[in-house]
């Protein structure tokens, strides 16, 4: 929850200190109009406020922000992105903040759990027995022609997840 006091900072960060990805998203152009918050289907039913996320990122309150569950309430519907009068790439900014959070191990437990499926199977949602049956019933191959059917393809995926640092993040 955001109180007014938590948004008072003695020394806001300078533009030079703003992380590169947030600069690319253009968040310094924010005029705090609240169009993003007003458009947000998540904010409609929770205390999540996109405008506050952007403001906090600009003030340099990143630890506070990165630890909050709010960051994970964006469905990436891009409605705010389309409507922002300053053309700020809001969703890209939220993604960049999530990357920073993940780097510090601040991901949701369930996300980390399913991320392991990707590392193990090449699918975030792997096949299971009931769905093998459902496929067969429809005349489809029991195992889809994806990485599930090609062990050498799975090795390629594992290698990419390794060299991009994803595997280490979710271990």
């Amino acid at each position: 929850m955001t109180s007014a006091a938590s948004l008072v900072v003695k020394k806001p960060i300078t533009l030079e200190e703003l992380p590169h990805e947030l600069k690319v998203a253009g968040i310094e152009k924010c005029i705090q109009c609240g169009t993003c918050t007003g458009s947000c289907p998540s904010g409609r039913r929770t205390a999540y406020r996109t405008r506050v996320v952007i403001r906090k990122a600009l003030l340099g309150l990143r630890e506070d922000l990165l630890k909050s569950q709010d960051l994970w309430l964006c469905t990436t519907c891009y409605t705010c992105y389309e409507r922002c009068p300053k053309k700020i790439k809001t969703v890209e900014a939220i993604m960049a903040l999530r990357n920073m959070a993940a780097e510090r191990g601040l991901m949701l437990a369930r996300h980390k759990e399913i991320a392991k499926y990707l590392v193990g199977f090449g699918h975030l949602v792997p096949i299971n027995d009931p769905n093998k049956k459902r496929r067969a019933e429809l005349g489809l191959s029991e195992i889809p022609p994806t990485v599930h059917s090609y062990p050498e393809a799975l090795e390629e995926v594992k290698k990419l997840l390794e060299i991009t640092g994803f595997t280490k993040l979710v271990e």
């Binding site: 039913r45 469905t75 519907c77 992105y81 389309e82 990707l118 975030l124 994806t146 990485v147 997840l161």
Partner: protein, 301 residues
């Protein structure tokens, strides 16, 4: 009227083949009937999903997405996908590759380590995009043998088929698009307006897996709005939205202790019924929410 030969590399993703194979079967059967050839991309992986993978590590999302694109490029075919999430990822990776030199260099570096390369040539299309632009409404109309004239449909576009609009092909309004309604009305069904028609289903961005209650509250709201407008079904074009509405309604019912039972159909399942396929051929009997009320309306139980 013959259309030019249409062939695509079929990208399945995760949810469609592994949770809702009925959606996959309906796309394969309907495309085959329309003379559109789908070729499997052997060894394709998760797109990977923007919600968790892009959120955790941009580079991992980029590398896996580029590998999937590279596989299609090796086949010399454009990609078609029936999931808005996969569409978003593959299209965004493709755009990033073409527009951002730094990103392109990264992609080259990662793919070279698995002995592959990507040149940025392959196009990424959505199932609806192929039907709307490449097959065309006229040909679809001709394929309808049994118009669904008593059906009132609540169309759910989903998010990533529409947005970000600067990276999408629709020559249509992003706030009030019409193309999906036109596709639905080709089947003879009536497409309704309902409150918050263009809103998210709630599943995306990792919200379904991370904060399920919030995701389900959006689903509940959309289903109630569709009901209030008098809809017989929700029609979607995304395997993840499809899961969120079908599986999601069983979860909402359990949480709220009252039944939510709006039939959920994927677009090619609806079109397939109008083309004369049986509900079983379209895999509709595998939905968790019964589609019987809809089939009664159509008169094909």
């Amino acid at each position: 009227m013959d259309v030019p030969e249409l062939r695509y590399a079929f990208f399945l993703g995760c949810i469609m083949p592994n949770r809702y194979p009925g959606v996959e079967a309906s796309i394969r059967r309907v495309f085959n009937e329309l003379g559109v050839e789908l070729v499997d991309i052997k060894g394709a992986s998760c797109c990977p999903a923007p919600g968790v993978v892009r959120s955790f590590k941009f580079d991992a999302w980029l590398a896996l997405g580029a590998r999937n694109l590279a596989l299609a490029e090796e086949m010399g075919l454009d990609i078609v996908t029936g999931c808005n999430g996969c569409y978003g990822t593959l299209r965004e990776v493709w755009c990033e590759y073409r527009e951002n030199k730094e990103v392109a260099e990264k992609v080259d570096r990662y793919l070279s380590q698995i002995g592959r390369s990507f040149k940025g040539k392959v196009k990424v299309k959505h199932v609806l995009e192929v039907l709307y632009f490449d097959v065309g409404l006229e040909k679809l109309k001709e394929s309808v043998k049994r118009p669904l004239k008593d059906v009132k449909a609540a169309v759910h576009y989903g998010c990533h088929i529409l947005r970000p609009s600067d990276k999408r092909p629709w020559r249509d309004s992003v706030e009030r698009p019409k193309f999906f309604d036109e596709l639905v009305e080709v089947t003879g069904a009536k497409s309704l307006y309902y409150k918050d028609k263009y809103m998210c289903c709630g599943a995306g961005g990792g919200v379904r897996s991370g904060v399920l209650d919030v995701a389900l509250d959006m689903t509940r709201e959309k289903v109630e709005n569709a009901q209030a407008a008098g809809a017989d079904c929700i029609v979607n074009a995304c395997s993840f939205c499809h899961l969120q509405f079908d599986t999601g309604q069983t979860e909402v019912s359990k949480r709220l202790g009252k039944p939510y039972a709006m039939p959920v159909v994927y677009y090619t399942q609806l079109l397939g019924l109008a083309m004369g396929f049986s509900p079983r051929e379209m895999g509709l009997h595998q939905n968790f929410i019964s589609v019987e009320p809809l089939l009664k309306r159509i008169g094909s139980t």
